[in-house]
Amino acid sequence: MTPSHHPPDELLADFAAGTAPEAVALFVATHASLCAPCRAHLAVEEAVAGALLAAADAAPRPDLLAKTLARLDTPAPAAEEAPAPPDPVFPRPLARYLGPRPAWRRVVPGLEVVELPVRLGGEPVAVTRLAPGTRVPSHTHAGWELQLVLAGGYTADDGRFARGDAHCADASVTHGFRVDADGPCVALLVREGRIVSKTLHGRFFAWLTGA
């Protein structure tokens, strides 16, 4: 099923141009692995980039040809990473970061996390698992908050989010949401800065705000 919510154009553009930070690239690639329309959008931007390359005003480098020709028979470097075995929850780009046995850590009742070895600014990228029915209180953000649903779903002020949906908010957005009652919600979470709590749910936000 095609996701209903997608990353903003500027994040897709950064990914296509190769200028997205690794954490954002991971988010976009994981969403796009589940979303044919976004793959099509990326392909358009790559076609534009290819046309720009073909039209670029750059001096030819015939001096490099002889060196390259001399290397045509050298053996190729070691084989690429073997593809990860398919997983019902974690698309391959993300599975490569998680490894075969992700180490879930219980932060507070209702919230478990796996932190990944990649950061955006000071914040580690994480995969979260929220218990059924959990209500995440209203909050805003110091920078981007990018959340990609991988299993289960939730309802927020700005709509319903299920597998493949990208929920992207910045400092202009204040929101909260409630996890569906029929199962846990697993999501990829990329934060650029601290989450700012609008309520006194201190313990819940201890991990999210880095307190």
């Binding site: 141009a17 690639a29 796009a32 392909a43 790559e46 980039a49 290819g50 046309a51 030819p60 390259t68």
Partner: protein, 189 residues
């Protein structure tokens, strides 16, 4: 892929990019590779240097990128993208790796996209020349902005500083320009 006319009989300079890649893939043709090199090595080198790499590193990487073109010619899919786009994606990965020492993350589709039709390769070549003409016909500030974003690899903030405009204006220019060019590709890739 059998070619109806053998471009080698009238010189590779008249061959299309796709014909050159096919000759490399099918026959390991070094003369065809040399022609492809002549078309793209300088531009790839410019892409790397303008993206922030030192000239000596860019020279090494240019060779490696064209080597990868040689090694992976059999995996090029003409119905999916132009040769220029294919070379761009190889160069993009190398630039990310060299500039930021970061893992290069690739999209890995869970569901297969429908296989493009046999006509798709012809449609695509036609669409690409329309795209190139449309690119040349863009308003100057849109073209400059696209070049900064996709060829020189500048962030939106950097482009805003260069052009002395708000970041929002840069984002709009990119969005509007891409939308306009999408029309040239017939709305589908």
């Amino acid at each position: 892929m059998a070619l109806p006319l053998d471009p080698a009989s009238f010189g590779w300079s008249a061959a299309s990019d796709r014909e050159l890649v096919a000759a490399v893939a099918d026959r390991r043709d070094r003369v065809a590779f040399g022609e492809l090199f002549g078309r793209y090595a300088g531009r790839v080198n410019g892409f790397l240097v303008k993206g922030g790499l030192a000239q000596t590193l860019a020279d090494d990487l240019t060779q490696e990128i064209l080597l990868e073109v040689w090694r992976r010619a059999d995996r090029y899919a003409p119905e999916r993208a132009s040769v220029a786009t294919w070379i761009f994606t190889i160069a993009r990965s190398r630039r990310i790796d060299a500039l930021r020492r970061e893992r290069v993350v690739a999209v890995e589709p869970e569901d297969d996209d429908p296989a493009p039709s046999a006509e798709a390769a012809i449609d695509r070549e036609r669409a690409e020349s329309t795209l190139r003409a449309a690119l040349a016909g863009l308003p100057e500030e849109q073209r400059r902005t696209l070049d900064a974003a996709y060829y020189r690899g500048r962030s939106m903030t950097e482009i805003a500083e260069e052009q002395q405009v708000p970041v929002g204006t840069v984002k709009s220019r990119v969005r509007m320009a891409v939308e306009r060019l999408r029309g040239a590709l017939g709305g589908r890739t």
